[in-house]
């Protein structure tokens, strides 16, 4: 019984780790660019597929974690610099639809390149198998996801709070015109943040692939969950994404365990309950 509880808790944390990698970027992009990036989930999928390719080419898992995020980030940065930056003055619906168009293009391109079948990745030997927890066992790879989520969360927080680049980013988020006047290169900050957010999603995709395989539609699945996370946590808040990921991870894990038919409903019910009291999310700012 006690182990059940611990197992569920770890499952929730592993799921939360993945959700955080996706939702943090989504939230960051909204906070700084005021854009809801609909293609964000597709970058997650792209990460998973590129991870598969890297593993297939090199025969190793670890390089994928290092190589794939920069590539995905570069694709994201190119998209931002070539299209999105020209329509920031328009109402938000236009940016949403532009990224919706990109989501369609990228999703279909992946289908052209990889075909319809799901691609599995073997976890590295170090993370295969199980660890003993008392008299029971738990898959190692899920523990790795917990650690990865925590480490990336900590790094993002450190960069935003303790470095000069983070300071500029936060200044642009707070008041981009004022930051511009004070000499910040706002256009470059936006491109870099967009690229970094896509890289995070790509990292999430690589990390998810050994557990879920890389498959078409995984981006669309994750983006809806990530939306729920940022709505709960508040758009633009990294801490909010972390708390939101934990709440959604917990709701899905326990929901799937105790009430399998209604797991999704529970997630939305939790979100609804939070929004009744705080329509802008737990850590978001009122519009």
């Amino acid at each position: 019984m006690l182990f059940n509880l611990v197992e569920q808790l770890l499952n929730a944390l592993a799921l939360a780790g993945l959700l955080f990698l996706v939702s943090a970027g989504l939230s960051l992009v909204f906070g700084i660019l005021r854009v809801v990036n609909f293609a964000h989930g597709v970058f997650y999928m792209l990460g998973a597929y590129l991870g598969y390719t890297t593993v297939a080419v090199s025969g190793w898992f670890w390089p994928a974690l290092l190589v794939v995020p920069p590539i995905v980030g570069l694709v994201g940065a190119l998209l931002e610099a070539s299209t999105l930056r020209f329509i920031y003055r328009r109402p938000p619906i236009y940016q949403l639809l532009l990224t919706f168009g990109f989501a369609l293009i990228l999703e279909e391109s992946v289908r052209v390149l990889y075909g319809n079948t799901a691609k599995g990745i073997e976890p590295p030997p170090l993370l295969q198998g199980v660890v003993a927890l008392g008299s029971n066992v738990y898959p190692r790879y899920r523990l790795f996801l917990v650690v990865l989520g925590l480490v990336v969360g900590g790094l993002v927080w450190l960069i935003l709070r303790k470095t000069r680049a983070g300071l500029v980013i936060r200044a642009v988020a707070q008041n981009s015109e004022m930051a511009d006047c004070l000499g910040a290169d706002v256009a470059r900050v936006r491109t870099l943040v967009f690229g970094a957010a896509c890289a995070l999603a790509g990292l999430g995709g690589v990390a998810a692939a050994p557990m879920t395989t890389a498959y078409l539609g995984m981006g669309i699945g994750v983006i809806v969950d990530a939306f729920v996370v940022v709505v709960i946590g508040g758009l633009g808040s990294i801490g909010g994404s972390m708390v939101g990921s934990l709440i959604v991870g917990a709701a899905q894990t326990w929901g799937a365990f105790y009430l399998p038919e209604t797991a999704m409903v529970i997630m939305y019910a939790v979100m609804g309950a939070i929004l009744v009291f705080r329509p802008w999310g737990l850590f978001g700012e009122e519009e």
Partner: protein, 310 residues
């Protein structure tokens, strides 16, 4: 105004003549276009005239489709009864959703409507006994026009029903946006703070327009189910909501007729591209991107601007 009336008259005449000119599959495509036109029209009410971007509008289309399918299959009532049932079901569900969602504004409103729509989608997907789960409900019959009345089973008869519904809805929406209520929602779109400071509460207005838009979307869905013969969770999926937004933007936001045109062009582009390539989604996506960047006013908005320049 008289010019607009003349255009409307010509459009109605063309719609009346077409079924005698077109081949069977073309008529079927035209019926499809009109149904999606009605869906986009309903979305424009809330998006274009109230300034609230709903990202979950497909849910109400789907509710209408399920409501109408269930009435037709289990009770065998005439089609108009099923249409009423579908629209009412969508409207009734939209009341609590709208009540929650209109507490938020801007992007939060869009996300809330998306989340509720996904919730409704999940319910439709999981409630196997009622909705048939992922298989949906197949074999929805096209029953009679009224009790003991003529059958709507022929493509031409059903087309006329759809065309009549779309034209009446269009007229109703025009009347609505010109009414004092319509002026009020446009005032909310232009400047909500000022609206509030004039002593009016915007939320009841938003809720009412949300429910009305949901009912028109429900009507479109209620036509869709007997026309295609099925209702499935697909039509409630968020991708369809996104496509609805694209139809509105493509045709011209806040013009009513624009979204109808936009929906038709959108579906036609998909039809044509999908007959040439299996990977038409890439090209649809590219068309989206180009339209958003270069034609923000949509087809009708751009046409009007060009006409004003001449």
């Amino acid at each position: 105004m008289s010019r607009a009336r003349a255009a409307a008259l010509i459009a109605a005449l063309v719609l009346a003549v077409l079924p005698w000119v077109l081949a069977r599959h073309q008529l079927s495509l035209l019926t499809d276009l009109l149904i999606f036109g009605l869906f986009a029209l309903s979305l424009d009410l809330i998006m274009g005239y109230t300034g609230l971007v709903s990202f979950g509008h497909a849910a109400y289309f789907g509710l209408g489709a399920y409501g109408s399918a269930l009435v037709l299959i289990h009770f065998g009532q005439p089609v108009p009864v099923a249409l009423l049932a579908g629209a009412l079901l969508a409207g009734v569900v939209a009341v609590p959703v709208g009540w929650f969602s209109t507490r938020a504004t801007g992007i939060y409103f869009a996300m809330l409507t998306l989340a509720f729509a996904q919730l409704l989608y999940t319910v439709a997907y999981k409630w196997r006994d009622l909705t048939g789960g992922s298989d949906g409900i197949a074999g929805v019959p096209k029953t009679a026009l009224f009790w003991g009345g003529p059958s709507l089973a022929s493509p031409r008869a059903f087309y006329f029903l759809v065309a009549a519904c779309v034209l009446l809805s269009l007229a109703a929406c025009y009347a609505l946006v010109r009414s004092p209520f319509g002026r009020a929602i446009q005032a909310i779109r232009e400047n909500e703070r000022r609206f509030t400071s004039l002593g009016r509460d915007p939320r009841p207005f938003k809720l009412v327009v949300f429910v009305i838009a949901a009912m028109f979307a429900g009507l479109a869905g209620a036509l869709f189910a007997p026309f295609r013969g099925f209702a499935s969770p697909e039509v409630m999926f968020w991708v369809f909501s996104g496509q609805g937004l694209m139809m509105v933007i493509m045709g011209g936001i806040g013009t009513l007729i624009g979204p109808v045109v936009g929906a038709m062009v959108f579906i036609l582009i998909q039809e044509i591209l999908s007959s040439y390539t299996e990977h038409w989604m890439i090209f649809t996506g590219a068309v989206f991107v180009l339209m958003v960047i270069f034609l923000p006013g949509g087809l009708v908005g751009t046409a009007r601007r060009l006409a004003a320049r001449v």
